[in-house]
Symmetry: C2
Subunit: 414 residues, 2 copies
């Protein structure tokens, strides 16, 4: 018998009705002869409610106590789902993170999984039980309850699938799969049948929002085959797996966008080896994530640096740098908000010449000015005006031949 890991997010278990629907999906999988390990998140907005209570008590609650608090959300879900499975006549058993053998490091709020002791889960599976594991949580070496931070339940599912040598790992969510672009913006966007880890990683980082990059990384490292699919609609999802037949296909596989972008330009910095280190250390210390960085030499003595950040962190980034103006010794800062980032993603697109050229000409023809560019092996990103983002995504989707009719944006096959 093969082991299948199935993960259901917060909206998928957001009500008693939804929990029953999830139990139905699990029951069908078990009926096919699979040994099922189910990972669930906290119900709907329950985590937000717990966070709100904590914030009422303390502006800056201790990470240890936050983990103690938040892990109750998943514990509620596993108990209720196990009851729902038992109500369907299945043998089911819930497990907290520590009961499931998920061992992490000491870092509360964003712990890394170090090892999974699969004994308890395997014992239950061998007794014919469905095991329902609380996502997002584990146990530190000194028996403290930890949480894995953002994307945590996806990560739990992937590491369990790896440790259990599961046949595959299903990530159930509220969309039907991974699309070539956001269907709300590009009506002709198609659901992909499969996508490589690397492409998924770029899409995840670029705001496609279906899978957290961290869980994709874990899947890549452990070579776990993922399926992203809907818990609301019964239809095939998108496989995320090692690239196979993809390279000879389209060079660009999807167009992603991120509407929450601001740009900060720091002009007239001294052209000195430590300048950039110090500048970005200051931002890192303030927990500001910098995305694209462009540096240009002004002359022998001075350089200009521009970088993009999430728009809501733009003001803070500016404040941090202004307060270090003396130390950094720059001339001035220019900040610009209201920007977006559009990206073309595809494994091996760099081996096909002309992708960048095609992207720029397409944007240019659409009257979209490119303000920053960043490239990697498998993606090109351009920062542009936010109000032109929708047009840009649509035009790029067409330009790279992604418009299609076999699978439409509704997610249903025609």
């Amino acid at each position: 018998m093969s082991i299948v890991v199935q993960k259901f997010g917060g909206t998928s278990v957001g009500s008693i009705e939804r929990i029953r629907a999830v139990a139905e999906i699990v029951a069908k999988t078990a009926a096919k002869g699979h040994q099922c390990v189910v990972v669930v998140s906290a119900m709907g907005k329950s985590t937000d409610q717990l966070v709100a209570m904590a914030k009422e008590i303390s502006e800056n609650p201790s990470p240890r106590e936050m983990d103690m608090l938040l892990t109750t959300g998943e514990q509620v879900s596993i108990a209720l789902l196990s009851m729902a499975l038992q109500e369907k006549g299945l043998k089911a058993r819930s497990m907290t993170g520590w009961q499931a053998g998920i061992e992490t490091d000491h870092v509360h709020g964003k712990a890394m999984v170090r090892h999974v002791n699969t004994d308890a889960i395997l014992n239950c599976l061998n007794r014919g039980e469905v095991v329902v594991v609380a996502g997002f949580q584990g146990l530190s070496p000194n028996s403290e309850i930890t949480t894995l931070g953002r994307g945590g339940s996806d990560t739990t599912a992937v590491v369990l699938a790896a440790a259990l040598k599961a046949e595959y790992c299903e990530i159930y969510t509220d969309v039907t799969g991974v699309f070539t672009a956001d269907p709300r913006i590009v009506p002709s966007a198609r659901k992909m049948e499969e996508i490589s880890y690397e492409e998924m990683l770029e899409l995840a980082h670029l705001g496609a929002g279906v899978l957290h990059p961290r869980s994709v990384e874990a899947a890549l490292i452990n070579q776990v085959d993922l399926i992203v699919r809907s818990s609301f609609v019964d239809e095939p999802g998108t496989w995320v797996k090692e690239e196979s037949t993809m390279e000879q296909e389209l060079n660009v596989r999807g167009i992603a966008h991120d509407l929450n972008v601001a740009r900060i330009k720091v002009l007239g910095l001294p052209n000195h080896e430590h300048t950039l280190t110090r500048l970005f250390s200051l931002l890192a210390d303030a927990h500001i994530n910098v995305d694209i960085i462009v540096q240009s030499e002004h002359d022998q003595e001075t350089i200009d640096v521009a970088f993009s950040v999430a728009e809501n962190e733009g003001a803070e980034a500016e404040r941090v740098l202004q307060s270090a103006k003396e130390e950094l010794n720059f001339v001035k800062i220019l900040a610009e908000s209201g920007l977006a980032k559009v990206s073309a993603v595809g494994v091996g697109m760099m081996t096909k010449p002309g992708v960048a050229a095609k992207m720029f000409s397409c944007l240019s023809e659409a009257g979209v000015r490119v303000k920053m560019v960043s490239t990697s092996e498998i993606k090109i990103s351009c920062v542009i005006d936010r109000e032109l983002a929708k047009t840009a995504v649509q035009r790029l989707h067409t330009a790279f031949g992604l418009d299609g009719h076999e699978e439409t944006a509704s997610g249903k096959k025609n």
Copy 2:
């Protein structure tokens, strides 16, 4: 330094505001130089909400999964209270039942505490931390999360106090102590300064409702000094401890009452050694708690049996017996609801002659007919008409010299 265990029930931690108030009480205790172990229940009605969700999924949810579900309630409380303590500048650390070393048997939903491994708590206390422990929960020998059932958090506090050799154990609740009668019925009822375990046990069983009998038993067995006091009003409570100076005091210490009583009479049962065993086994199998039992021999061949039950279990008791009419071979059943039980309680009252006589004459003078009587070493209980219960309690309170003025029903010393 002496260890003090403080327990706060659901209403005491029923809101963020209340949790802050509890933190204040704990902070004051710590400031006096005590090492504090705090046991908390789930917030207000949160356990009821969890039960309601489970019942929506299953009429008869698995006890194991119920424990998994319900223990989240206390886990939320310990995290929030620890945050509130930290916000006051105290070092505090929350612990689930298993982290606090509370080892139980295997019985989900009503586990018994078998042992407390105090290492983790003592380590924290020795580091100067306040330890906040989730009440009502423990860990079974095969690492399953268990709950202690009703009165569970009080029991957690008492067993921790015993294991830690605490100086005393404070039970904070929404009343200011133990009274000589219910102050809502007897305005002149006095708060007792102290009461013996045995008296408290009888009062607890008789519906005084302040402490669960089980926790009093645990305190008696382990000789833990308890204080029952209010988390809402700062005033001395009632000590529950080994009797000392009490015996030469009043022979009757308090008047308790229970308004939820029905009586079932089974007439014309065969006078056979197995008859009563079988009858009460049937009721026990149906989980019906029988209180007072009176048996009378009718003649050589037949007996009559009367017993009292909680009124809401009366119909079920009647149904169970009727369905076994053939086997039990009785003539008929008479059921009567609308009854109450009034009890006079006091250590050593049986060594003072005339307590029973005084009780009967007092009730008789008040026009109250006694329908059933039950006595123990330290109490006399009478089943009477419910509508006369208030009068009976008031008259008995006066007759036994309990009316007083030093401490009034408001709980404040004059």
